[in-house]
């Protein structure tokens, strides 16, 4: 009875999270509260189940990114890159895709697409070209870039929080598949869209249009006041944060302490240029409470022993770590195409921890990387696979570019399967 009640609450909450009848944080919090009300968990167990390290890291990064964006540095970089392309569609395509991947590795994916997609639409549509291939590339590269680092995508933050893997561990273990996936994606995009993105250097009219648009973008940007001292402080804070993450092993400090230190010091030194109330309000409480609710619900499920049984089932199905890693990669990849990858990864944490325990001293850390790759990159498969996809489609719609679910999927689904195949190849060599 206890198990059925727990699974019932979790299942119902999960359905509401998927159908998004109301905000998913409410569904997760109600599920968590019911776990306590029905005595599945004690209030103390519920509090203990929340990974505060993960929540605090997210909170600190949200504050840090909000203050950094107030400096105008990201728009400045965008405009500089636009000017550097000299209106060449191929250069716009390559540089903005790369910029998206780099931004996503250090900022959250949604912030990244909010910064980059509108400018891309303005540049590309102004030239009379279809911005969709560019937006598709930016969506996919935001998920690829986010998959590289601990702070790039929420699933990685959850995995990092649960395993203790630091920033460097993520980069060292994921850079190879991310690099190959990026190359594959770039080749596919170039082959499919060559006609629209090929250079225009022999077309005087197109070149003139492109240069007028770049000047237009610059004029728009010039109207915004940029304070050099603010920008320098932001750059220093961001560099210090990344170095702090890299040296986490030596510093012996949790990631959230490093991120919070950078955010608070930056807020203090730029206090006259920002409104701290606004920066603190920028924290997405719905996201953080969604995480908290999920952690509590998963703890309830864990208590039933269902996840432990699932771990044993998977672990006993084979002793081949490569096969296990493949299962984790493809299941998480396919699930992330349809469902929110955050609750899925949260559920998978105890499952993989269980498999790890059943393997004893054998190193099965590759399973965590398989989970990360599947969850982060699988989200590329459909328009609802990741928040960045949904937000990009919304931004595009606001700018008069309609991205349909099928229109995106026709291109993204085969590519995502290709991406998961590349990751499978990586897992094979990593487990040799």
């Amino acid at each position: 009875m206890f198990e059925y009640l727990t699974l019932g609450i979790f299942g119902l909450a999960f359905v509401f999270i998927v159908i998004e009848r109301f905000d998913k944080s409410l569904a997760a919090l109600l599920g968590a509260l019911l776990m306590v009300i029905f005595r599945i968990l004690t209030p103390e167990e519920a509090i203990h189940a929340i990974h505060f390290e993960t929540i605090l890291l997210l909170m600190a990064m949200m504050i840090l990114v909000n203050i950094a964006s107030k400096s105008g540095i990201f728009e400045w970089l965008n405009v500089k890159i636009a000017a550097f392309t000299k209106g060449n569609p191929l250069a716009i395509f390559l540089l903005f895709s790369l910029l998206t991947a780099v931004f996503s590795a250090f900022l959250d994916n949604v912030t990244t697409v909010i910064l980059i997609v509108p400018l891309t639409i303005e540049l590309v549509r102004g030239m009379g070209k279809d911005p969709k291939p560019y937006i598709f590339a930016e969506i996919i590269f935001s998920n690829i870039g986010g998959g590289l680092t601990l702070i790039g995508d929420p699933p990685n933050i959850i995995i990092g929080g649960a395993t203790g893997f630091n920033f460097l561990d993520f980069v060292v273990n994921l850079w190879i598949p991310i690099l190959f996936v990026s190359i594959l994606t770039m080749i596919v995009f170039l082959l499919k869209n060559w006609r629209t993105i090929k250079p225009i250097s022999d077309k005087l009219i197109d070149l003139t249009i492109a240069n007028i648009i770049i000047r237009k973008v610059k004029i728009k940007f010039v109207k915004k006041t940029i304070h050099l001292d603010f920008v320098i402080k932001v750059i220093l804070a961001l560099i210090a944060t990344i170095i702090g993450f890299m040296l986490q092993g030596y510093l012996q400090l949790p990631n959230y302490v490093i991120a919070f230190t950078a955010a608070i010091i930056l807020a203090i030194v730029t206090t006259k240029k920002i409104n701290i109330h606004e920066s603190f309000s920028s924290v997405e409480w719905t996201t953080l409470l969604f995480f908290a609710g999920l952690f509590v619900m998963v703890a309830g499920i864990e208590k039933t022993g269902v996840l432990e049984q699932l771990s044993h089932l998977v672990a006993n199905s084979t002793d081949n770590i490569f096969i296990l890693a493949l299962i984790v990669l493809w299941v998480s990849g396919v699930v992330s195409m349809i469902l929110d990858n955050i609750p899925f990864v949260t559920v998978m944490i105890p499952v993989i921890a269980g498999i790890q325990a059943s393997f004893g001293a054998t190193d099965v850390s590759i399973l965590w990387w398989a989970l990360s790759l599947g969850a982060c990159l699988g989200g590329n498969g459909t328009l609802i696979g990741a928040s960045a996809n949904v937000i990009s489609a919304d931004i595009a719609k606001k700018h008069g570019v309609n991205i349909s679910f099928l229109g995106y999927m026709k291109f993204s689904l085969p590519l995502t399967f290709g991406i998961l195949l590349v990751c499978s190849g990586y897992l094979y060599f990593a487990t040799l």
Binding site: G126, S201, K203, I205, T208, I209, N211, I212, R215, K216
Partner: protein
């Protein structure tokens, strides 16, 4: 209308709203220089053919910009007529860029001349009303300020972006100003000594094409007998037979009520036509003209152009 024509027309309209016609011309000329620098066409002839096409498009945007016809007409003679005849010359890019730079220099000189003639208006101790976001008017005000003239400005509030553009420019130049909604000016008629306007162009019908809202405001001050001045270079003249209201675009869009579930159609017009006779003086790069004299100058240029 070809797709390239449409792209240019849309782009020019958007930029004109943002930076004004004169700066728009500068943007287009500088972009053309960048384009020529980046051009890697296989043949010199290829460039010449494309340049002619480009000039044709730029002089036939919707609406047509008199200032483009003025400068690109000149460039057409210089580039298509001279540079492109020297087909074996490997330095054609340099020659073409040199010609565009000459045009730019000429455009800047023309602006300086206009500002020089603006000194003929006595603004000391006066309160000037501005409404549109004419960069020429802004430049004239900045010039007055930098020459130690004492005056005040009232900005008649209109579209958010245009009003803010005026506010930013005046604030940056340290010019004393206040902002009053355009529909409340009747309360301060007695405080306003003169009204300054800039325009997109002057048609052969002797109507200026101005920002929307200008006609009612100018009429209001004409009735009040407050002098209204126009600042516009002769390079903006539309030296061709005009079509009826061809330069006025109507933007219809749906808008939602802020608090209630009501959706309604909102209509905006891109420009107003204002008869030249409503202005006391027209300050150009060729001098300060009365409306009658302006007509003579225009007709002379119109004939020469023909």
């Amino acid at each position: 209308m070809t797709s390239k024509n449409k792209i240019f027309s849309d782009l020019m309209r958007e930029l004109e709203v943002e930076v004004g016609t004169r700066d728009l011309t500068e943007v287009v000329l500088l972009s053309l220089i960048d384009a020529i620098k980046g051009f890697k066409g296989s043949k010199f002839d290829n460039f010449c053919k494309q340049y002619s096409e480009l000039a044709e498009i730029l002089t036939n945007t919707e609406p047509k910009f008199g200032i483009f016809r003025y400068y690109f007409g000149f460039l057409e003679k210089e580039i298509a007529g001279k540079v492109c005849r020297v087909s074996n010359d490997n330095t054609w890019k340099k020659h073409a860029i040199k010609k565009i730079n000459e045009v730019l220099k000429n455009a800047r000189k023309l602006k300086r001349d206009l500002i020089k003639y603006s000194d003929k208006i006595n603004v000391n101790g006066k309160t000037i009303l501005i409404h549109d976001h004419s960069h020429t008017v802004q430049d004239v005000l900045v010039h007055y300020k930098s020459h130690g003239k004492k005056f005040k400005v009232i900005i008649a509030e209109q579209d958010f972006e245009k009003t803010h553009d005026n506010i930013e420019r005046l604030h940056k130049a340290g010019i004393n100003f206040t902002v009053v909604p355009a529909y409340m000016l009747s309360h301060i008629h007695d405080q306003i000594d003169m009204v300054f306007f800039g325009a997109l162009t002057l048609k052969d019908t002797m109507n200026f094409v101005l920002n929307p809202g200008a006609l009612s405001l100018i009429t209001e001050f004409h009735v009040e007998k407050t002098p209204v001045y126009m600042f516009m270079g002769i390079d903006k003249f539309s030296l061709w037979k005009s079509k009826k209201r061809a330069e006025i675009f109507i933007h219809r869009h749906k808008r939602k009520h802020a608090h209630k579930p009501i959706e309604y159609e909102r209509i905006k017009y891109s420009h107003d036509r204002v008869p030249a006779k409503l202005f006391k003086k027209i300050i150009t790069n060729e001098g300060v003209l009365t409306p009658e004299k302006l007509k003579k100058v225009f007709m002379e240029k119109f004939k020469n152009r023909k």
